[in-house]
């Protein structure tokens, strides 16, 4: 059974600081997704990582994928308050295309 774990679960950081969120998964998968969710809202797609070594960047966020280690990271550079949200990784579970979500990381950026 595919399991996806994120850490940390909660992250409180000062504006201007850097930090990394980790996403580990238990079985082979070549597709990993990162989403952002604001309180009371649906999910917003951030990154789609489709192969080993994939790296994508958008603004202050950069995501990478290491399929051999079954690990993805979401790196935050010089955090700003607007990045406060919950971030989820999700891994595609084999041929059925279904997503399995990580536990989520609730990020709070303090001014």
């Amino acid at each position: 059974e595919l399991k996806v774990e994120q850490n940390p679960l909660f992250l409180s950081m000062q504006e201007g600081k850097n930090y990394t969120i980790y996403c580990n998964y238990s079985t082979t998968s070549d597709r990993l997704y990162w989403y952002r969710q604001d309180p009371g809202k649906s999910l917003e797609s951030l990154f789609v990582l489709l192969s080993n070594g994939a790296v994508k960047q958008e603004g202050r966020l950069m995501a990478s994928l290491d399929t051999k280690a079954r690990l993805s990271t979401l790196h935050i550079t010089a955090a700003v308050h607007d990045l406060s949200a919950t971030y989820f990784c999700a891994v595609e579970g084999g041929s059925s295309y279904k997503y399995i979500f990580g536990t989520g990381t609730r990020l709070k950026v303090l001014a």
């Binding site: 809202k41 797609s45 999700a90 059925s96 279904k98 997503y99 979500f101």
Partner: protein, 115 residues
């Protein structure tokens, strides 16, 4: 990416009743899924909605409690039956178009409160 209309956006229901949630997509999609997000938690997959046949349920979810229909490639419904307060959650539909892109799109969600 596909555009999803999910209805209702929220509802407050009496225990023992049922609620049907609709998911309408603006284009044909390969796969449709239903998720539940309990307060403060991650998303849990309820089932894959299969066109013209019975949905494929995940462990812990059964058809009698969460009947799902998908009559065509753009529409699906999820019913939450015989509700109890433990069913209070956000329910989201999600779609993907495999032959077009690898993205998954989520509906805006249905916030259900059972009293």
């Amino acid at each position: 990416s596909a555009v999803i209309s999910q209805k209702p956006s929220r509802d407050i229901c009496q225990r023992g009743t049922s609620l049907t949630i609709q998911c309408q997509v603006d284009s044909q999609v390969t796969m449709m899924f239903w998720y539940r997000q309990q307060p403060g938690q991650s998303l849990t997959l309820i089932a894959t909605a299969n066109q013209g046949s019975e949905a494929t349920y995940e462990s812990g979810f059964v058809i009698d409690k969460f009947p799902i229909s998908r009559p065509n490639l753009t529409f699906s419904t999820l019913t939450v039956s015989n509700m109890s307060p433990e069913d209070s959650s956000i329910y989201l539909c999600s779609v993907t178009r495999r032959r077009v892109d690898y993205g998954y799109t989520f509906g805006s969600g249905t916030r259900l409160t059972v009293v």
